[in-house]
Symmetry: none
């Protein structure tokens, strides 16, 4: 019995979205384990029964919430990045960094959390194992389309992504005393450009 309701009407869709939004917010704020389904339901202004008519269990809320969030945000990012004309590597990188930080601003530690969940749980693993890769590949595609053809691009892009996400974390959540954000940003920017121009 796959008794999970597939929302069709507008109000249903909105309700499902609300569960996901509030779930996402709570998962980011308190983590998966400290978030309980009753609180999600309460904050979404629905009963616990309604919540479970949209999602099979708590884990599915987690998966769907992060799936939607990541898909949405990464699409926005890629769209913005592909608009640039004419292409220059330095402005591309600058935009990449700015947009990324901006778009993922309210994620806090949520991405680190997700990575952990991916390695802790089989279902979550199965669902998200390809997610990051696809993002890398789309970035690579974009670079190639603009004439940037070189060896080991996958590894290079991966390195870049790690640095840019570290930058985001530093900004939005995890500030290290004594670290100057702007200097750090310049460094990351230079490093990324240097990686992609060799």
């Amino acid at each position: 019995m796959n008794d999970v309701r597939e929302p069709i009407q507008k109000r249903s869709i909105e309700k499902k979205k609300k569960i996901l939004d509030i779930g996402f917010a709570l998962f980011c704020e308190k983590g998966y384990y400290k978030t309980n389904t009753i609180e999600i339901a309460k904050r979404a202004d629905i009963s616990i029964g309604t919540l479970y008519s949209y999602f099979k269990d708590k884990k599915q809320i987690y998966i769907a919430a992060f799936h939607d969030y990541l898909e949405d945000i990464s699409n926005q990012l890629l769209e913005k990045l592909s608009l640039q004309q004419p292409f220059s590597l330095s402005s591309f990188v600058e935009n990449w960094i700015c947009y990324y930080i901006d778009l993922y601003a309210d994620t806090g530690q949520a991405l680190a959390q997700l990575r952990m969940m991916i390695s802790e749980d089989t279902d979550i693993n199965r669902h998200f194992s390809n997610f990051e890769n696809e993002y890398f590949l789309k970035i690579i595609e974009l670079l190639k389309k603009n004439g940037l053809e070189q060896d080991d691009l996958f590894e290079k892009v991966y390195t870049c992504c790690i640095l840019i996400d570290a930058l985001r974390q530093e900004k939005s959540a995890f500030s290290h005393k004594g670290l100057d954000f702007n200097i750090f940003k310049n460094q990351v920017q230079k490093t990324v450009i240097s990686l992609l121009s060799t």
Copy 2:
């Protein structure tokens, strides 16, 4: 009130250490929330009551276990790194990477987890907020001692640390399909060297 025992006798000290070792292993393997105190006690061959005579609660075991582990491992790393004579940046970096990967091999996702816990929980935050910084500062001190005197070292070292840890994760836990570890490693190495030589 504060009935947590401070072990004085040898057997006591050993017992406490065993709790921490086994706790650490379990926290790494299953994560904080899926690890339960009874299992720690069982594997440590002591009663749950005894466990609670050494630690106020589960969180304190977590904090102490990671505290000890990190202190121990980072000391080992720093010691090994300071032995090198004569100093050359490229061999220093190569060693740094090798030792780091080696020493932190069994951490799996535990460090990512710790970062998450730091942002989720006030107590853990309070305890570990300075930890990383101190490690950075010691690395910097080491570099300076060997004549490497330049601007923005804190930010540079931070960037290096992020890349090296990404490398470790890639090796021990979180492999991305299509990513060649050796190419990635070469890239990280080159990048770190380049960062520290400007």
Copy 3:
């Protein structure tokens, strides 16, 4: 208050019958407690609301379903048995057994279940307490009509019924390892004949 609809129109009557048929099938297959009303409604191709407009609650579906089924089947059985002409005890018994096994074939454990429900629940008890008795009495009437007049017929018929139902169970659901059905059947047949000929 008593808002349960009494179906008058043809479509209504069909709908109610469908609920009862599907309810009966599910109760037999999974038992009362593992059968849920939503599944009944779904399989009957009506909404849960409609289901509840025909029946006050789940228990009433159960009662009505078994009531109708038992009435229907026992009538069929009695009709078939009364057709026999000329009457001979041995062929009557043989037919009784064959028809019974045949007609109640898809009941599985449902009758045992019903007996349990009768002793567990007051409403069900009230409804079915006389049911079996009436069946016994009709069998007795039939026997008497055919000249079989003797003492203690009620007790004898009861004993026969128990044996015949045991036979049915053995066939349709609950096979005991090492028990040969045909030998068992012969035994039951002989015993029933012997009981009714003294």
Copy 4:
């Protein structure tokens, strides 16, 4: 982790037994599904946590309770029946019936319930599928030991058991209006003797 406690000390054993006794009583009184674990715990004067330290889940309580009860009672019955000297079929049967009715007096519909559970649930099935057979075989062994050697004994004994249990049910739980218990008993007795003497 098989974390179910195996009681060793006297108090533990008593407590486990109390859970089983009260569980058995409740399962008999209200059936498996209407009995809840909290009520078992309350009536046994223990906390719900303690209950779950003795049993993995509700089903295991059910299985263990019926296992113990049936083993205990059938052993008592077989012991009593094997004491008879010198052996005569008629007195054996008389005793069989009397002891059986007596010993299983407080079972009510519980055995019918168990048979249902056996066909509804795999675990329960696995556990009890051989139980009845073993009882039949022990009765057969007893009869053979006393010189009663004949064909189709398994089927005969099975038939006898069904009749005797019907008698017990009639006495303890499920009285049919108009049925005279003593006449019924005489009939069963005669039938059993007749079955076993051919």
